[in-house]
């Protein structure tokens, strides 16, 4: 089982961001990622998170595992690319 916590930071729920959220929800509910949690944070509603988490751009996905974090930015709406990256992280144990 791959235990990790995902945090997705977005700004509002534009069609593009909705596609990212839906992609992430689908991936996190897949059997391979059983045991993972996903939290979605809208920085428009939580502007204080931008400085506290040192965010430079959104949407950004932060994966927490074993006290470490990895950030991913870019084509978060592409299921294949995202799964490939998460698999890579699993392989190297983050």
């Amino acid at each position: 089982m791959f235990n990790a916590e995902f945090e997705l930071f977005v700004s509002g729920y534009s069609p593009k961001n909705r596609a990212v959220v839906s992609n992430l929800e689908e991936i996190c509910h897949s059997p391979e990622l059983e045991g993972c949690s996903l939290r979605i944070i809208n920085v428009s509603k939580n502007p204080e998170m931008v400085s506290s988490r040192k965010l430079l751009a959104v949407p950004v996905l932060i994966m927490h595992k074993s006290g470490q974090e990895r950030r991913m930015i870019g084509v978060l709406d592409d299921r294949e690319v995202l799964i490939r990256e998460i698999d890579r992280m699993k392989m190297f144990d983050l």
């Binding site: 509002g12 920085v43 991913m72």
Partner: protein
């Protein structure tokens, strides 16, 4: 280098030394030496300036026109790329080291070298100089290449960040600093994130230091930085493009709303359906969070409310209105009119308000429904988070409110018109019934004597039906077969139409369809239009046949009685 031709420039003022060197090199078999011998520094430099090929310079430091390392310096100035071997009579390690550090390839003391050593020194010097020149060339190319990269990196209009394997920014160009709104020292070392790449670009929103956002298109490529894998992310500001796209999309949605409103206005005859459908269209077509239409009377009294959207709990609105606790935004828009745009919910708005913007999203737009001086209420919409409203939309919203008000006005007018028509029809029916049941003959005649109206009593008395006589004038021949009598009545009718005279109790005798004679007492009046122009005559006839007979009977009886002498009168006469 075997059998190579080596071109040597020998700068030596001493003839003996010059011959000795040539003699030494003559016995060397590995190469063939060609000489150019110059006795002074100036002659040597002149030769170097002539661009003739020289592979090596043998230089005596003490010449008639120059001495010491200054001689070497002058020669190197003339051509830095040709290897120089110093020939001197001074055996000084210190001078030798300094000469080599100033660019000489070797330092030979006269009388202490032989054919082999000078020949080897020449070959090695040429090879070392070549290596050195290549190194200088490579360094120069590397420096140029780095300068070009720096130039491209720094002067690029796109923001470029180099992201290290730890997802932190290693370097950012000037455009990137502008894009992020942060200084280099803040940006360098900050976590950007591992750029996920595919063949295409991706869109991100850059969170600037001043809390504003910039839409950027990101293209990423793998690179090597300081010997390690890194990522070069190129960021192009597409805010204007995104805004223009959004603007166009919004305007298209609004135009669709306007088109649909037009269709609804034409198709929905029921005003309640019409207002509900307008609310639905605003939400479904433009994507507003909620839409409300509050109908009020002319003085702001609450009539009803229509709504559509995610949360339409407006239960307390009517009750609040009755208690004069209307929402402030409703009062403002009803009193002042125009379009009210609230970007955010004002602080004074209560959480329980049916129009609570916080509950629905960002803010609201309201507009009074007003047309031709009549106020019909107001139209209000809420905007979800992230919803952008441009100036044109506000203006178009005002125009849409005007269209809705006009439609309500037209609906009301149509309803009033239909009510009035219905009432008029009822009155006309009642009047017809009254006329028909009145026992009075009524007919209306046009200026040519044609019958326009022929009521029930006329049918009963004359025996001719309405179908027999309306639109024709033949009835006069039937009713008055006697030409003199007919002319008399038609003459009177003409007088009425032409001169506006009226007659009362004009008695004429008609012949009915059944052949019997009836006596009719006519009241004749002219018929005028709304401008007072005579357009015909109206005839009201009363059947006085029985009355006339009774009168005749009474007259006859009276005359008969007069002829009879009563006894008292006979006695008096006698």
């Amino acid at each position: 280098m075997k059998n190579d031709r080596i071109k040597i420039l020998l700068i030596e003022d001493n003839n003996g030394d010059a011959f000795l060197i040539q003699e030494m090199l003559a016995g060397v078999t590995e190469a063939i030496y060609e000489y150019q011998w110059c006795r002074t520094l100036a002659a040597g430099i002149d030769f170097l300036s002539s661009d003739q090929p020289v592979d090596l310079i043998l230089l005596d430091l003490t010449l008639p026109d120059s001495s010491g390392l200054a001689t070497l310096h002058s020669v190197k100035n003339a051509n830095v790329r040709i290897p120089v071997i110093i020939l001197t009579g001074i055996n000084s390690e210190e001078l030798a080291a300094e000469a080599v550090s100033k660019g000489a390839q070797d330092f030979l003391v006269k009388g202490r070298f032989n054919s082999d050593s000078i020949s080897r020194s020449i070959r090695y010097s040429i090879q070392r100089q070549k290596l050195y020149s290549d190194l200088v060339d490579m360094t120069w190319h590397l420096q140029m290449s780095e300068m070009r990269f720096r130039d491209i990196f720094e002067s690029n209009a796109d923001g470029i960040v180099i992201v290290g394997p730890d997802e932190k920014i290693l370097m950012a160009n000037h455009s990137a600093l502008v894009l992020f709104g942060r200084p280099a020292e803040e940006l360098t070392g900050s976590p950007f994130g591992f750029p996920l790449i595919d063949d295409s670009s991706s869109e991100i929103e850059i969170l600037r230091a001043d809390s504003s956002m910039v839409f950027a298109e990101m293209r990423t490529t793998k690179t090597i930085w300081d010997g390690k894998t890194a990522y070069l992310a190129s960021l192009r500001d597409i805010s204007e493009r995104r805004q223009a796209e959004m603007h166009t999309r919004n305007l298209n949605a609004i135009l669709n709303v306007i088109r649909k409103l037009g269709r609804i206005m034409l198709s929905d005859k029921d005003s309640r359906d019409f207002l509900q459908n307008i609310c639905n269209t605003f939400v479904e077509t433009r994507g507003y969070g909620n839409a409300w239409i509050v109908r009020t009377g002319q003085y702001g009294e609450f009539l009803e409310v229509f709504s559509s959207g995610s949360d339409t709990n407006i239960g307390s609105l009517a009750a609040d209105w009755l208690k004069a606790q209307m929402p402030k935004c409703a009062i403002d828009v009803l009193i002042h009119g125009g379009v009210y745009y609230l970007e955010q919910t004002p602080a004074e708005c209560s959480e329980g308000c049916p129009f609570n913007c916080r509950r629905f999203g960002k803010g609201t737009i309201s507009a009074r429904l007003e047309y031709a001086g009549n106020i019909y209420g107001f139209l209000k919409i809420s905007m979800p988070d992230g919803f952008v409203v441009h100036e044109e939309e506000k203006e178009l919203f005002g125009e849409m409110a005007n269209s809705v008000a006009y439609a309500i006005y037209s609906h009301n007018n149509e309803t009033t018109r239909l009510d009035n028509e219905s009432r008029i029809r009822q009155i006309a029916l009642m009047q017809e019934q009254q006329i028909d049941n009145s026992g009075v003959w009524l007919n209306v005649i046009d200026p040519k004597g044609g019958i326009v109206v022929w009521n029930k009593t006329a049918e009963v008395i004359s025996g001719y039906t309405s179908e027999d006589v309306v639109g024709r004038s033949a009835v006069w021949d039937w009713l008055y077969p006697d030409a003199a009598a007919r002319d008399r009545i038609l003459g009177q009718i003409r007088n009425i139409i032409e001169e506006g005279k009226g007659f009362d109790n004009l008695e004429t005798q008609i012949r009915t369809r059944h052949g019997d004679l009836r006596c009719i007492a006519w009241h004749l009046r002219n018929l005028t239009d709304e401008y007072g122009e005579t357009i015909g005559a109206i005839m009201l006839g009363r059947d006085v046949t029985e009355h006339k007979q009774a009168e005749d009977d009474l007259r006859r009886t009276t005359q008969w009685l007069k002829k009879i002498k009563l006894p008292d009168e006979a006695e008096k006469q006698t």
